[in-house]
């Protein structure tokens, strides 16, 4: 605290010092005027009016007027306003100067916030993409920015895989550099790494893609950087804005056909009949001489069809979404503020799941002195999820795997008020067909769970413009997060029965601090301009949790204290820290040739003492060809730029402490009530940063003020890839975190924006495209890394399917066929042996088939295509996105191997055929109960082409031209999201994760993004 008092005193002193300078200025010319929009004539409030060469200035008030006292008649007034071209006027003898500002052609030379600093777009040597708040307004409705950005930014690959209320999408910039460490980009909010934000408060998003842009973030920027700027009030422009979006949401599973009782029974009987006939033909004594009917009726009695529960309808239904924001902003020349409150509620399309989120933001800026600005940003976030124990997928999963023969209420079908069926008690219910032997309806009614989350951040920024060429900035954020989850299971609940019911409370809290301190130099010597940044950064975070459980619940009481016996207590603490020093120097000559270089040195607590520190760097150049004399007369070229950059950035997105070899304590390692410890990790003291070495060459061309083409070619080599490597059990450990080798991503980002019509009807089109090629260059000892259904091997992509190769159905027998590789002695060869097979044949015995590398997980190209149309006050936005050429592993339980989980009709949408008789050319083997030939085991049969083109959003808006009943800028819109998808993928929406860590697989019952029909209203008061 003492240091804070000292700090305050210091401000006062600096203040007095600075004030003494102002007093020295003695002066006496008054000038005033009104600032208007050159096009519409509307008055402009909040326009910055500055006296050139001095620190004097003011802003226009609500009626657009200003008045100012200036040193003398030679003074030059500079008028500037965001979105307008600046103007300068020499006062002379004028006492009244009225100015009409012309709108700036925004796309031409926006100010781009690139993290520690901002630049005009024309000055950038780097590959960045900017998404403005205006664009975000027409984006899909979500509490997640990633969902809103899908298809908007070239090279920013977003897969929207989850329809769970409150969930987001996965983001990858330019291909997967790693699958062992996170591929998510670094997020920077208001100039400082990390932080909370509500997408509704976002002013701009800048995506930094190449090393010239990300280099200054060094250690943490290997996956690219997302720079987010939140809204700020404008002086003299007091406004209250209300935005509300609301509407129903729906599942769209119409591509998946489920059996009802009758069709399921028919399918199962078919499988039983086939098996029976097969066994009789083999002469199996269990079957010979017995009647098929007896066999069938013992297994699935015919009366099962008397119950026909539609679990899908029971567990799914329309949802509802409402997002409302109230924001207030304004200020005067010294103080500006932006305050907002958001309330988001989404009722899921699965039973009982919903998400409520309330956020608050307050951004307040105050100029303590003309050149010393203090900004305070506060955020608060509260989120709650009832029934959290059931997770995002449980009801979805039950929708597809629960069996129509089972009735959740045992008083009979349709008896919703009847008793719940306690399925484990076979004395009441002789048969329950769902193989998990769980009744979801019973489970939910005999349990309670609630998850709550509270987060807050406070950021203080002090920006001191010491001279016109020197500025220092210090920016510090403290944050906390608090999670509170509680569960109660009664003794009638399967989960609780073992313990006579139990109550569990989990608390976790985390705190963090990050401080970023920079000095900025900006100097001009003739035609030479320099910008420099020197900085230091430090961050520390910890998280701690406590989890307690007590057993023996009385009468559904939910307090931890109301349960009888303590059962489980656990908790631990985890810490992480980073420390960095960095610098950057920008140089340009005549605004034609630009050079940028940066250097950053980082340390992370996640690595051992000798491997903590690493150095990262970048260098970039930019040539504005259209500013050369030889193009001076070519007026149809508006912009022509060529830029190149190279740099090294890092990735440390792994868990804490992985370099240490440790013994760990947990509730699992105790024995007989005594605490015990077991080896939990193999040490790897040499574990170090993963690095990305990126070369980027790009060009930007704008012609006729209508067509803009941005093209970037990049080549990124990720070295020292962080990966958890599975080990032989002989080592004593399942896996070890290692730096395994290097991978190359090379590709093209293309962004084309055209103004097709620019009259009464305006039509703008944007196409963005990313083509990426991924290849593993080198692995330590050249050794493959094989786990589950994937292989990492030199020469293949980082994620590559490795499984048995499906070779169809044997037309003679109806058995499955897989590829078998044999060596010269006829012995079985797997792909892991790296030997060329002498003989390639097929087999119907699963264990005799070869595991071979099949194909890559990654798409050939991805992108987005959007159209914006405007007619008078109407606007129409159509967003589509696509990904082409990737495969997804999705296992469906085709065969009747298990009477509980074969709910899918296999021939409806997919058109697949099953083998019936010799000679049949079929997609699937003969239906055989118990799957004796192991068709269901992993093979390329379950790889499906997941290419898609999705109409992600269609939005029609109308903005009222004038104030309606006191509402300014009133606009209305109707939008539909996830309208349609074009794909060959057999199980609905194929918008799955295709570059992140879970790329390549999608479960059939996943909670897909929902279809939404939304109405929104927006106005200012």
């Amino acid at each position: 605290m003492e240091s804070h008092i000292r700090l305050f005193r210091k401000f006062i002193l600096i203040g007095i010092f600075l004030l003494s300078q102002f007093v020295a200025l003695a002066q006496q010319v008054s000038v005033q005027g009104v600032v208007t929009d050159a096009k519409t004539g509307a008055v402009l409030a909040g326009v910055n009016v500055a006296v050139s060469g001095t620190t004097l200035g003011t802003i226009t008030d609500g009626s657009g007027t200003y008045s100012l006292t200036v040193p003398n008649e030679k003074s030059v007034l500079q008028f500037s306003f965001i979105g307008y071209q600046p103007q300068s006027v020499t006062i002379g003898s004028q006492k009244v100067i009225n100015i009409a500002l012309a709108e700036e052609l925004a796309v031409l030379d926006e100010i781009v916030v690139i993290g520690y600093s901002s630049r005009r777009q024309s000055e950038l040597s780097s590959s960045v993409a900017v998404v403005s708040a205006a664009k975000l307004q027409t984006a899909p409705v979500s509490t997640s920015l990633s969902v809103m950005l899908q298809g908007r930014v070239p090279g920013l690959i977003i897969s929207n895989t989850n329809g769970m209320p409150g969930s987001g999408a996965t983001m990858t910039i330019r291909g997967a550099g790693s699958i062992g460490a996170s591929t998510s980009p670094l997020v920077v909010v208001d100039g400082i790494i990390g932080g909370d934000y509500n997408p509704q408060d976002v002013e701009t998003v800048t995506v930094l893609k190449d090393a010239a842009a990300t280099g200054i973030y060094g250690s943490r920027a290997a996956n690219g950087v997302l720079v987010i700027t939140t809204k700020q009030g404008r002086a003299g422009d007091f406004r209250v804005s209300v935005t509300s979006t609301t509407g129903p949401t729906f599942n769209w599973d119409n591509r998946i056909e489920l059996n009802d009782s009758h069709s399921l029974y028919d399918q199962q009987v078919k499988g039983l009949r086939n098996l029976f006939d097969l066994r009789v033909a083999e002469g199996h004594p269990d079957f010979v001489g017995k009647s098929f009917e007896e066999y069938r009726d013992k297994t699935v009695p015919p009366n099962v069809v008397n119950t026909n529960t539609n679990w899908y309808d029971l567990l799914n239904g329309p949802g509802f979404i409402n997002q409302t924001q109230l924001a207030m902003s304004g200020g005067n020349e010294r103080t500006t503020f932006y305050v907002s409150a958001n309330l988001n509620y989404e009722k899921g399309t699965i039973l009982d799941r919903s998400h409520t989120q309330a956020t608050l933001r307050s951004n307040i800026s105050h100029k303590i002195f003309e050149n010393l600005k203090f900004t305070l940003r506060l955020t608060g976030d509260y989120e709650t999820d009832p029934n959290s124990w059931f997770g995002s997928g449980r009801a979805r999963w039950e929708s597809f795997s629960a069996v129509p023969y089972d009735n959740p209420y045992y008083d009979g079908p349709g008896s919703i008020n009847g008793h719940l069926t306690p399925v484990m008690n076979t004395n009441i219910v002789p048969l329950w067909y769902h193989y998990t032997r769980q009744n979801y309806i019973l489970e939910r009614e005999t349990s309670e769970s609630l998850s709550k989350e509270y987060d807050g951040t406070g950021t203080g920024e002090l920006d001191w413009r010491i001279t016109d060429w020197l500025r220092v900035n210090t920016n510090t954020r403290v944050s906390f997060g608090f999670g509170d989850e509680s569960y109660m299971f009664t003794k009638d609940n399967l989960e609780g029965k073992t313990y006579g019911g139990y109550v569990e409370w989990d608390y976790d809290y985390s705190t963090g601090i990050i401080t970023s301190n920079t000095a900025h130099i900006s100097r001009k010597f003739g035609n030479h301009t320099f910008y420099g940044i020197l900085g230091q950064e430090y961050s520390y975070g910890n998280s701690r949790y406590v989890d307690a459980r007590a057993i023996g619940v009385v009468a559904g009481m939910t307090a931890l204290s109301s349960a009888g016996t303590p059962n489980l207590t656990r908790g631990t603490l985890s810490e992480t820290g980073f420390k960095s020093y960095f610098g950057q120097l920008d140089y340009n000559y005549r605004n034609k040739y630009f050079l940028v270089g940066s250097l950053r040195r980082d340390a992370s607590s996640r690595f051992g003492p000798d491997y903590k520190w690493a150095t990262f760097y970048s260098i970039g150049a930019n040539w504005h060809i259209n500013r050369e004399n030889f193009l001076a007369d070519v007026d149809w070229i508006n912009t022509l730029k060529l830029r190149a950059s190279y740099g090294k950035t890092g990735n440390a997105n792994i868990s804490n402490y992985l370099h240490m070899g440790t013994y760990q304590f947990s509730d699992r390692t105790a024995y007989d009530g005594v605490a015990g410890a077991v080896p939990s990790r193999l040490p790897n003291p040499a574990l170090t940063w993963e690095s990305a070495h990126t070369l980027n060459i790009g060009t930007e061309l704008r012609i006729y003020n209508r067509l803009t083409i941005e093209l970037d070619l990049y080549n990124t080599k990720n070295t020292d890839l962080l990966q958890s490597v599975p080990l032989s059990a002989a080592s004593g450990f399942a896996s070890q975190q290692r730096n395994i080798g290097s991978v190359l991503n090379r590709g093209i980002d293309l962004n084309i924006t055209t103004t097709n019509l620019d009259g009464l009807l305006k039509w703008q089109t944007n196409l963005n495209l990313n083509v990426n090629r991924n290849e593993v260059l080198e692995l330590s000892n050249h050794a493959d890394i094989i786990s589950d259904n994937y292989i990492i091997r030199e020469g293949l992509t980082l994620k590559y399917f490795y499984m048995r190769e499906w070779k169809g159905v044997d037309p003679a027998t109806g058995k499955p066929l897989w590829t078998r590789w044999e060596d010269e002695n006829g012995g079985l060869l797997h792909g892991s042996s790296k030997k060329e097979p002498t003989n390639i044949t097929t087999t119907s015995v699963f264990s005799d088939a070869s595991l071979i590398p099949i194909e890559t997980v990654y798409p050939d190209f991805t992108g987005g295509f959007s159209n914006d149309l405007m007619f008078k006050n109407f606007s129409l936005t159509i967003l589509t996105n696509f990904a082409v050429g990737h495969k997804v592993y999705t296992e469906a339980n085709w065969t009747v191997h298990d009477l509980g989980s074969n709910r899918f009709k296999i021939t409806k949408w997919q058109g697949w055929t099953t083998w019936e008789k010799p000679g049949d050319i079929a997609d699937l083997p003969q239906l055989l109960f118990s799957d004796p030939y192991n068709t269901r085991m992993a093979s390329s049969l379950y790889l499906h082409d997941a290419s898609y083109l999705k109409i992600q959003s269609v939005r029609l808006g109308y903005t009222f031209p004038k104030t309606i009943v006191g509402l300014k800028n009133l606009s209305l819109a109707v939008a539909s999201e996830n309208l349609a998808i074009l794909t060959k993928f057999p199980f609905g929406d194929s918008d799955t994760d295709f570059t992140g860590s879970s790329a390549g697989s999608a479960s059939l019952d996943r909670y897909r993004p929902t279809r939404k029909v939304l109405f929104s209203i927006r106005f200012d008061l």
Binding site: K10, T474, L494, A519, Y657, R668, A677, P726, I786
Partner: protein, 535 residues
Amino acid sequence: MTDTGQPGKFYLASGLIFNNKIKYNIMKTNKGICLIFFMLLLWSGCTDELEYLPIDQLTTNQIINDPELLKTATVGNYSYMRRNRTGDDAQNIRHRVIEYQSDDLIMMRWSSNHLTYILTYLMVVNNNLARSFWNIAYYAIFAVNTVIEAIPDDASAEMLNLKGENLWMRAHWMFDLVRVFARPYSHDSPETNLGVMIRDNTDVFALPPRSTVKECYEFIEKDLLKAAELMTISKSNKYASKEVAWATLARLYLYMEKNDEAIEYANKVISSNRYQLIPADKVPWNRLTCEQNSETIFAVKILPAENMGRTSIGSMFHNDVGWGEIMVSSSLMDLLWKCPNDNRKKFIDPHYKLDANGQKIPDPNEKYYGYAMNDRMGVTSYYSIKFTYENGVAMLHSPVYFRLAEMYLILAEAYAKTGQNQLALDNVNIIRQRAGLTGDELFRLDNMRGYSSVLDIVLDEKRLEFWLEGHRAQDVFRNKRTMDRTYSSWQGWSGPRYIPYWSNRIINFIHEDEMARNPNLVQNPPLEDLSELPQ
């Protein structure tokens, strides 16, 4: 702000902006000097070395250099038998891989769980149960080796006892491993048949090949002899002791057909007088905790709070909380019903059909109980309570690995194999008497009750006493007999009905993942077609 005990971490936050070392009048002087000071402060304020240590973990060095922590590590080593680190239920997996090949059980239907492949002798190279068991065993062996290496042979008696406990654990895991992945010792020829990897050190980069069956058994024997020698301190039946090592040796020698040694070590256990057979009136003993059970030589203690409910061993065998999908086989029922007074029938929990008044319905065709029974998919609901209701709690059970009755039956088998038939029957009768059998229900050389061989009597008695406890499949195969599954139900039962001892199907494949990670391993031979056999 939280005090993290690491000074300097937050010093930065407050100290970096200004520090009282700056005199106020600096503001009046050159701004450049001021800036330099400012920057220097930023840089020097950061004293955090970023060396954080986890608070729930210890380093291996800490463990191996501290006798107290070696005890803690040993407790952790016992926990592997209870549960492995990923949350799989180690004891349940162990039970599935060693018991499900027996003829004492019948599953009501095909299950997509990989246990089905073991149960039906349709072994596959990607059986995840076999993989889990292999992994748990080797993780445990690594952990055990760490403690063994850390205790020198001249340590205190207490530490040597600890070393002995760990040696026993290593032997126990190895014994289970060779059983699941390698042919029995009694089969031709243990000198060349492949066993499992021997791990006797903590070299994490070693990729050992499979040793022979003989080498594995000798390794286990050596560990057990040393363990018995080192364990001088008396410990409860939840922990290893010299009696536990002797009991293991008795079983090991029996499997190796070293009958004299088997007799010697079984007698050592019996004559230690530490254990008494449970009195007949206390059968079924599943309600007793291991502390209350005088017969238990070694059990893995499960506390009520650790009750694994639907992932416990008993879950498959009883439907109260459990899945209740595996019932007792008719061939075992027939054996149990040979003597109406056999109190081991009390481990069966028959589920009767009830009429509208809640009364049992007489059914003369029901040959065991005489009442109509419930069934599940045609399999009569003869559930077993052997693995549930410890202290009356559903699914609570502390698995018993060794109990005194086995020692008597080891004696019986070894005597039978060495032609000492009277002694063999005497030991069988000890067990039968405890089962409540008397008079002509006991065996005499002149009253073999229809058996023609004493060894057959011993093996059937062992089945009666130990059904579902993990002995049966090994007893059948190591004695070169054929597993008879002709009782099997037809619900998805696609496996062979007779499994001869020489079949490749009696052991598991090593999982293909492990084969890929250790190129020095050789896979077990492929399954042969048994359809030529009389089915």
